[in-house]
């Protein structure tokens, strides 16, 4: 808290933050958890259907996950492009953010937004501004684990 604010209101920074916390409404946790559970569950349910469809075409279980993931990325990108994804995500929250649809949305929304700044300086450069950390930290984790497993 700035010194003069402290003098004016006789409050420390911690005390003011407490005042703020008391005013802040609680998030509707129960409702959010239920919608996240249902929407995420449904996406994965559909994912299982898609997975089985590809296995029916002759892919093994391991191989079929590739086109399945690609399908959901396509879906996430399409819904983002159509302007629908963010409207759904307002209600579903983690239900659409945690599955790979959220990854697709973060890349597509950034690509879309910076389109007007050029395809090289906009789309190309800024596409990974939100999703980049997922890739970077995934790689760093795999590096550490991989090195440990190579040495052991």
């Amino acid at each position: 808290m700035s010194r003069n604010l402290k003098e004016k209101f006789n409050l420390s920074s911690g005390e003011y933050k407490q005042m703020v916390q008391q005013k802040k409404p609680r998030p509707p946790l129960a409702k959010n958890l239920v919608t996240a559970f249902l929407s995420g569950g449904i996406i994965c349910l559909i994912g299982q259907l898609v997975l089985n469809f590809f296995m029916g075409l002759g892919f093994t279980a391991q191989e079929a996950s590739n086109p399945t993931v690609a399908f959901f990325i396509f879906l996430g990108a399409l819904l983002t492009g159509l302007g629908i994804f963010d409207k759904i995500a307002r209600y579903t929250g983690a239900g659409t953010a945690i599955p790979v649809t959220g990854f697709a949305n973060s890349i597509t929304s950034a690509a879309l937004e910076f389109k007007k700044e050029g395809f090289v300086t906009g789309v190309g450069s800024k596409m990974f501004m939100l999703a980049g950390s997922v890739i970077v930290f995934g790689v760093m984790t795999a590096l550490v684990i991989g090195l440990i497993s190579a040495i052991i």
């Binding site: 209101f9 703020v20 005013k23 802040k24 995500a89 973060s106 007007k116 939100l130």
Partner: protein, 336 residues
């Protein structure tokens, strides 16, 4: 001490300075709110046929200026100064809008306090004899602000209940020494203060102490009670910032309940899902230059204190771990 400078923060505008004309343009969501009858124009979508949201915001500021000037039959080059500010990096909306007005340009940045800072500075220029007519304008656009401060507009995320919605709109005012209208009587310029808060989705709580501090400067230096005014409004503290301001003022013995509202809570209906309320430069501009100005001209309100707050952070400062400093400026507008 100068005769017109009352305290360390407050200036009394002794010679008559009038808020002679206003122009107010709102976005579509604001046009569905309770104050829609007070706006000169309601735009029907967020793009207006422009290629980017930034260009749309420029159009809106240009339209607000055009409306204000035309009411006084002024040409674009008739003003003595053009003072403008907005939320975008390097205030490009204001800079590009100034291309249309071939007069000396003063770009300002007080974040969401731009409206009051602009009118305050214009009043001081006119009251001090440095000009007779000054145009001041400010704007904000939900998408251009989201894109710069938070996330791409199509990104799917949930806003917490205490978050605020950046108002899409623009307001312009012509301040003169000659055309009689509600007078700008005092200007109280605030200091930047920091409460250590880092929460960016709803800035009201970070700015409330600045608003309360500036109100204290105003009341103490002018030796006024809050009840002197018919209405006291803050720019965009939202519902929780408003409640915090009430509590802070009460600690110093000033009771504002019944005479104090926040502009951000007046622009939208509850079902429009704006969290704690509106924010942005247009939050104060739409209410003050639209609703309040209209009622003052009718005589329904005669003495109004407008306290607008601005958060002086940037995404960079937040990522680098800084908290959010805030400033608040106030003007009093009174009918003669």
């Amino acid at each position: 001490m100068c005769s017109q400078r009352i305290g360390n923060h407050t200036v009394k505008i002794e010679t008559p300075v009038y808020l002679s004309y206003s122009g107010v343009v709102s976005g579509p969501k604001e046009g569905k709110g309770p104050l829609l009858g007070d706006y000169d124009e309601v735009k029907k979508d967020l793009k207006l046929g422009e290629k980017t949201f930034e260009k749309t915001e420029r159009r809106m500021m240009e339209d607000a200026c055009r409306l204000a000037l035309s009411k006084g039959n002024y040409g674009k080059g008739d003003m003595d100064y053009f003072i403008a500010g907005d939320l975008l990096n390097q205030i490009t909306v204001s800079g590009f809008c100034a291309l249309q007005h071939p007069v000396p340009f003063l770009g300002i940045y007080g974040a969401c306090a731009n409206l009051v800072q602009g009118i305050g500075m214009a009043a001081m220029l006119v009251g001090g004899g440095y000009g007779e007519k000054v145009l001041t304008a400010t704007s904000s656009h939900n998408c251009s602000a989201e894109r710069q401060y938070r996330y791409p507009t199509e990104y799917g995320f949930q806003n917490p209940e205490w978050s605020q919605w950046t108002v899409t709109g623009a307001g312009a005012a012509v301040i003169t020494s000659t055309i009689k209208a509600p007078r700008v009587t005092t200007v109280t310029l605030g200091e930047v203060v920091d409460t250590g808060i880092k929460e960016t989705s709803g800035l009201g709580p970070a700015m409330a102490p600045a608003a309360a501090a500036t109100m204290l400067f105003h009341f103490e230096e002018l030796q006024l009670e809050p009840q002197y005014y018919d209405w006291i409004v803050t720019g965009d503290l939202g519902e929780y910032g408003r409640q915090l301001t009430l509590d802070l003022m009460e600690r110093r013995g000033y009771y504002l309940e019944g005479v104090y509202s926040d502009c951000g809570t007046l622009i939208y209906y509850p079902h429009q899902q704006v969290g704690a309320g509106g924010s942005g430069c247009a939050s104060s501009a739409l209410v003050v230059l639209g609703h309040i100005y209209r009622r003052m001209k009718k005589g329904e309100l005669n003495r109004v204190l407008v306290v607008a707050t601005g958060a002086m952070h940037s995404p960079t400062s937040c990522f680098q771990g800084d908290s959010i400093p805030a400033v608040a400026h106030a003007i009093s507008i009174e009918n003669e």
